[in-house]
């Protein structure tokens, strides 16, 4: 059984938003529904100033608050680690949206929350998520943690990583490279 995860090196990101629209196209989403976003941080004063750009998407938490609060089991976690939404079971209560510490869920046209699906249905056969594939700066690495030879397994071993809002106990499956600066 695979265990999917993602590694993001935000220091490489230049904020082009290709990841967002490539994903929208893969999943045929309307303009306002997007599965990944960027957070911008400006630090210092002119001319000693730097900018950070951090891509954020569903963390596919191992301890997902969104799942805990979902009354119908519409939000569920697969054995391979993907947190997904069964639209047929969703009542649209938006409790998961309130509960997600990462603000990654959005309502779609049909009153069902949406979020990054880790490209379920596309990656199992070896496809790369478009947000990964399109990125000219190779900010993201996606792969299987159970495969010691996967790029992500190797990189995770090699690099110093952290998770966003880890103190909330969500155990995200999206890891971030610690920046050297």
């Amino acid at each position: 059984m695979a265990h999917y995860a993602m590694l993001i090196d935000a220091s490489r990101c230049t904020g082009c938003a290709a990841c967002r629209i490539a994903c929208q196209m893969q999943w045929q989403l309307p303009p306002e529904v997007f599965f990944n976003r960027l957070e911008f941080r400006e630090q210092g004063t002119y001319p000693n100033v730097r900018q950070d750009i951090v891509p954020v998407q569903c963390m596919h938490c191992d301890n997902p608050p969104c799942l805990k609060v979902c009354p119908t089991g519409a939000t569920y976690k697969r054995a391979d680690g993907m947190v997904l939404i069964d639209h047929g079971k969703c009542i649209g209560c938006k409790y998961c949206m309130v509960a997600c510490p990462y603000d990654v869920r959005q309502m779609n046209e049909r009153g069902v929350p949406e979020k990054c699906r880790f490209c379920a249905g596309h990656v199992e056969t070896g496809g790369q998520p478009p947000c990964v594939a399109t990125c000219m700066n190779d900010v993201r690495i996606f792969g299987d943690l159970d495969d010691p030879n996967s790029e992500i397994s190797k990189e995770l071993k090699r690099r110093d990583v952290f998770q966003l809002a880890a103190h909330k106990g969500t155990k995200p499956r999206v890891f971030y490279v610690k920046s050297k600066k």
Partner: protein
């Protein structure tokens, strides 16, 4: 058109407005609401919490009458039950319309998730509704039924559980700091009783007034005291919570408290929650020593104030952007402004509540002593007609 019908025109119109809102929500879905991905819960959820909590509060007072043996409260038992029903059903209506896919509710049964506060809410409030229906039924058909005692006892537990769980939905969501902890389950319980008492007093006063009857001063005083007591507790809790939050180590907590005290929620907080919900009614109650007219005024103010509390509380939990990436400068607050649809739905629920209650007063016997008078349609018909009715 009878006077009753004429008099009911206002709430009926509100219901029509509400229906327009409902149609718009059903057609345009989420876009009909002012809610956003950042603030997914808005006025409809606030409205739902208001109605459900008030229904539970009214129900609890009704039970209190049942078990306390205090005549003043006992007199309120039936009215309380019917009022609770008239509040609960429109409340359900609100949340039903707020839900994107209410039809999928079946999965609450088929694949229940016991860690979900909303699942428990569905469970506890369904039971509440069932128990209320049973209680109301027996109160009309067979008030002396032996089983009723047991039902009532169950109902009390159920009501306390339901209303505390309502608070827990927020408290246990886990990530919105402002909502976290044991505070809100208790706070909601207290303010539920406050709004339940206020609703009961308002309903009783108006009903009595229409009938040309003075409300039993003991009832006024009992409800008045409950209200005053709840206000004092709620005020103390609010003050403590805000004080603690303003000093808190966590920045989001400080910012949320600031949003209420001096930020975008301040006007509603100070005018609605504090002014209309606490200071004014408390002053009215204490100064006038629970005189009927003043207590009634206080109750109306409390209803407005408690609605502000619900709206503030829902908004406050979400208004501060969550810290996902340390150090990111967000706009200070998320913005949410309710759409006409949301206001229309709230008006609709209020109208429906009034209609249902009035219908109950008109149709059933809610008042042991004045049963005859209340059964007289002419009397009920003028419930809110401001005409010449002075005691």
């Amino acid at each position: 058109m009878s006077r009753f019908e004429r008099w009911m025109a206002a709430p009926a119109a509100m219901v029509l407005v509400g229906l327009a809102g409902a149609v718009n929500k059903i057609i345009n879905g989420e876009h009909a609401l002012g809610t956003t991905a950042a603030m997914p819960w808005g006025l409809l959820i606030a409205g739902y919490v208001f109605f459900a909590a008030a229904a539970t509060g009214a129900g609890l007072i009704a039970s209190l009458g049942h078990f306390s043996g205090k005549p003043a409260l006992m007199a309120l038992e039936r009215r309380g039950m019917f009022l609770a029903l008239s509040l609960l059903i429109p409340g359900f209506g609100l949340i039903g319309i707020e839900l994107g896919n209410p039809l999928n509710m079946i999965y609450i049964l088929l694949s229940p998730n016991f860690t979900s506060g909303i699942w428990w809410m569905g469970f506890l409030y369904s039971i509440y509704l069932a128990l209320l229906l049973i209680e109301c039924y027996y109160s009309q058909v067979n008030p002396t039924n032996k089983n009723l005692k047991m039902v009532s006892a169950l109902a009390v537990l159920n009501k306390i559980a339901a209303v505390c769980n309502l608070g827990a939905i927020f408290a246990l969501a886990g990530v919105r700091l402002f909502w976290n902890g044991y505070y809100f389950p208790i706070y909601i319980l207290v303010t539920a009783i406050l709004s339940g008492a206020a609703a009961l007093l308002t309903a009783s006063y108006l009903t009595g007034k229409r009938a040309g009857l003075e409300i039993e001063p003991a009832i006024v005083e009992a409800l008045g005291k409950i209200m005053a007591g709840c206000i004092v507790i709620a005020a103390a809790m609010t003050a403590l919570k805000l004080y603690a939050n303003l000093q808190a180590a966590e920045q989001p907590l400080r910012e949320t408290a600031a949003a209420l005290v001096s930020g975008p929620l301040a006007w509603r907080f100070w005018l609605g929650e504090v002014g209309a919900g606490m200071l004014l009614p408390l002053a009215l109650l204490l100064i006038a020593n629970f005189r009927a007219k003043h207590t009634f005024a206080a109750a109306v103010l409390i209803l407005i104030g408690v609605f502000a509390m619900r709206a503030d509380f829902i908004a406050a939990g979400q208004i501060i952007p969550q810290v996902v990436v340390e150090g990111v400068q967000h706009t200070a607050y998320h913005v949410y402004s309710a759409t006409w649809t949301e206001w229309a739905l709230l008006a609709g629920a209020t109208g429906a509540s009034v209609l249902m209650y009035a219908f109950a007063e008109y149709k059933f016997t809610l008042d042991a002593e004045a049963a005859d008078t209340f059964a007289d349609p002419e009397c009920v018909a003028d419930l809110t007609g401001r005409r010449k009715l002075t005691v």
